[in-house]
């Protein structure tokens, strides 16, 4: 099962590389995206499809637990939408060769699948680093000076950050060795409660993982690559990053959190996470105010929501259900935001609010979805993020953190104002007289995936279906240590 999901995108990447036509090649993307989504549905629903039998006496390398399932679902949903969108997008960008672009997207999907299935912290790291390398050419797609700069920053900051995460991974294993146990990188072995472990080494390991995987997630102050990369890359790449890359980095970090809290260091971890999360929200809010580039604005929104995930994790048990739900609602809503922003960018040939006005008139569908997704991501009812953010807020009160709750609300408000000003300028009013006219109009391929994702966001805001709620409860219990 796992192997089929990992090999499918790789196989199609090879097929894509062999297709000589720049026009036909993008068709491998929906095959991979929809095939992967079908396999994901099977892995989540069919009993027994989620585990791999290990050799007796050994811990398994692959196996799907509840948190892996949640992340796999987000990645697969967002990627499936992006894979259909990309066919339409690449049709508009025939002038650029897309062989490497398509291979990079599919390589990311394979890597993200490995991360979701991995039960070995070393394997998780290898796969995360592989996605860093696979996604670098995506940022570079436009082949301009600006995109080179963004790619360089992403590669250097990302590689160094992720190297620290590897050091942290080694430190965790070494902590058990110093404690007198058997060194292991297996998640199952490290989660055994009461195993001897050296606390100082474990704490340093946790900090390194927070910095390392936090760089990949884009937590402040390690977020510097994010606005550049999201701003210069095509919108579809932004959607894959904000919905996929950040989610798998969060999963990798979650595994560290679980190991550290099972060793009795949850209080230490919680303080760090709350501080880091609130700081990320503050920085994001600050840079969103007066932001003139609406794609960079979305990057800061991603920083903000990674901060929210950290806060939810730091609050502990009462907020964990909301946190796991927020991974899903944030990923799906970010998909709508980035894809519609990409459409608007193409229709105006600009991403600066000086030129982009009146998107609702020029592109009623994309403009409307952009506005609706903005309302959703800032936590307005009746959309999914409202439910998850409200649940995290409740968790803050329930766990006795009224100050955190207050700061959380203030930052949400600041972000709403800052983001709202830019979004309203983009969507309302009339297109400027001197705005460039371009050939882009909303078509089925570049609009239908957005409508589908927006429908999911809306649906999750009205009712979380029971099988999903059960999965999220199971995931929250796994993180909180009740399973």
């Amino acid at each position: 099962m796992a192997l089929a999901m990992i090999l499918l995108p790789l196989l199609l990447a090879a097929v894509g590389a062999l297709i000589p036509s720049n026009r036909l090649r993008p068709l491998v993307l929906p095959v991979a995206g929809l095939g992967h989504l079908a396999l994901t549905a099977f892995a989540l629903l069919a009993p027994g499809a989620d585990s791999l039998s290990a050799l007796p006496g050994e811990y398994p390398l692959l196996g799907l637990d509840a948190i892996g399932k949640v992340i796999l679902l987000v990645v697969s949903l967002v990627f499936a939408a992006c894979s259909i969108y990309a066919v339409g997008y690449l049709r508009y960008r025939q002038e650029r060769p897309n062989r490497v672009f398509i291979a990079g997207l599919l390589g990311f999907l394979a890597g993200a699948t490995v991360v979701s299935w991995s039960r070995n912290m070393g394997l998780t790291w290898v796969a995360i680093e592989a996605t860093t390398l696979a996604t670098a050419p995506l940022i570079y797609f436009n082949n301009s000076k600006r995109s080179i700069e963004a790619t360089w920053k992403f590669l250097l900051v990302g590689s160094v950050g992720i190297a620290l995460a590897l050091l942290g991974t080694f430190f965790v294993a070494y902590a058990t060795l110093v404690g007198g146990g058997q060194a292991s990188l297996s998640f199952d072995a490290l989660c055994v409660i009461g195993a001897p472990v050296s606390k100082p080494w474990l704490r340093v390991a946790f900090v390194l993982a927070l910095v390392g995987y936090g760089t990949k997630m884009g937590l402040a102050p390690m977020h510097t690559w994010k606005p550049d990369a999201y701003g210069e890359a095509p919108g579809v790449v932004g959607a894959v990053f904000a919905g996929g890359v950040t989610s798998i980095a969060f999963l990798a970090f979650l595994r560290f959190y679980i190991v550290v809290s099972r060793a009795g260091e949850a209080a230490f971890a919680s303080r760090l996470l709350l501080g880091m999360g609130l700081f990320s929200m503050a920085v994001a809010g600050l840079f969103m105010i007066g932001q003139r580039d609406f794609k960079r604005m979305l990057a800061y929104s991603s920083v903000e929501h990674m901060g929210i995930l950290m806060i939810g994790l730091g609050l502990g048990a009462p907020a964990l259900f909301g946190t796991m739900l927020h991974v899903l609602t944030n990923g799906v809503t970010k998909g709508v935001l980035f894809l519609s922003a990409g459409n608007i960018h193409r229709a105006y040939a600009s991403k600066n609010i000086a030129q982009v006005r009146g998107a609702l008139r020029r592109l009623p569908l994309s403009g409307g979805l952009f506005l609706a997704a903005f309302l959703a991501i800032t936590g307005s009812p009746p959309f999914g993020p409202f439910v998850s953010e409200f649940s995290i807020l409740n968790g803050a009160f329930a766990s006795g953190h009224p100050l955190v709750a207050a700061a959380f609300l203030v930052f949400l408000f600041v972000v709403f104002i800052g983001m709202g000003r830019t979004v309203l300028k983009v969507t309302q009013g009339r297109p400027p007289e001197d705005a460039l006219t371009t050939a882009y109009r909303d078509g089925f391929l570049t609009a239908a995936p957005l409508v589908a994702l927006m429908a999911i966001t809306l649906f999750l805001g009205i009712a979380v279906p029971e099988p999903l709620a059960a999965l999220l409860r199971e995931a929250a219990a796994l993180v909180g240590g009740q399973a």
Binding site: L61, N120, G122, L123, W125, V126, A127, E129, A130, T132, L133, A136, P137, Y140, K145, R146, I148, E149, A150, T151, W152, K153, L155, L156, S159, V160, A163, L166, L167, F170, A173, Y174, L177, V178, G180, Q182, A183, S184, L185, S198, P200, W201, V204, P227, D228, G231, E232, F287
Partner: protein, 217 residues
Amino acid sequence: MTDFLNAIIVIVMILNLFALGTSRIASVIRIVAVQGALLGVVPLLLHWGGGGAPSAAVLLAAGAAIALKGLAIPAIMRRSLRSAAIKREVEPLVGFLPSVLLGAAGTALALVFSGRMGMAASQPGTLIVPASMATVLVGFIILTTRWKAISQVIGYLVLENGIYLFGMLLVEAIPFVVEMGALLDLFVGVFVISIITNHINEAFSSMDTRDLVTLKE
């Protein structure tokens, strides 16, 4: 065997300081290559020290590490240095002598740090932990005090060498797939980064990262 191992680790630490104090980029690449190849030998020594011949997997991993870190990666770096045709000096932010002193201070700090953290009792060659920390620190110094893109890549390689050395303490815990995967990632990473540095050089006619300042708030 432990004496021999410690000797190698001391050489690795001295190479750190050489890397900090050398002005020609080609020489720094060579120093880091030697360091990487030496690190590839360490797992073999650990195994012989523990008695018994190393298994095929250990031999394969060590061979791959030596080939990649000692030969393939330096070859890629030299190629992009040649094609860039830049002034082949390092041009550091901090002078060579101060950065060597900084590296030495970092090494001392690493020794103190690992002494305080406590180390596993059953390990041969207790120098591995401080040497690894020192190498990671030196990697950071190179990364942050050099302007040229290619010098920053060298800093990243030194950082990776330090982490690889730490991995030596955990040979039995790291599955073969993971070890080979990490090496492959490193190789592909340097390959991709060197493509980007070449693009930087073509687009900006220099490899100076101070030119990369268009994107900001």
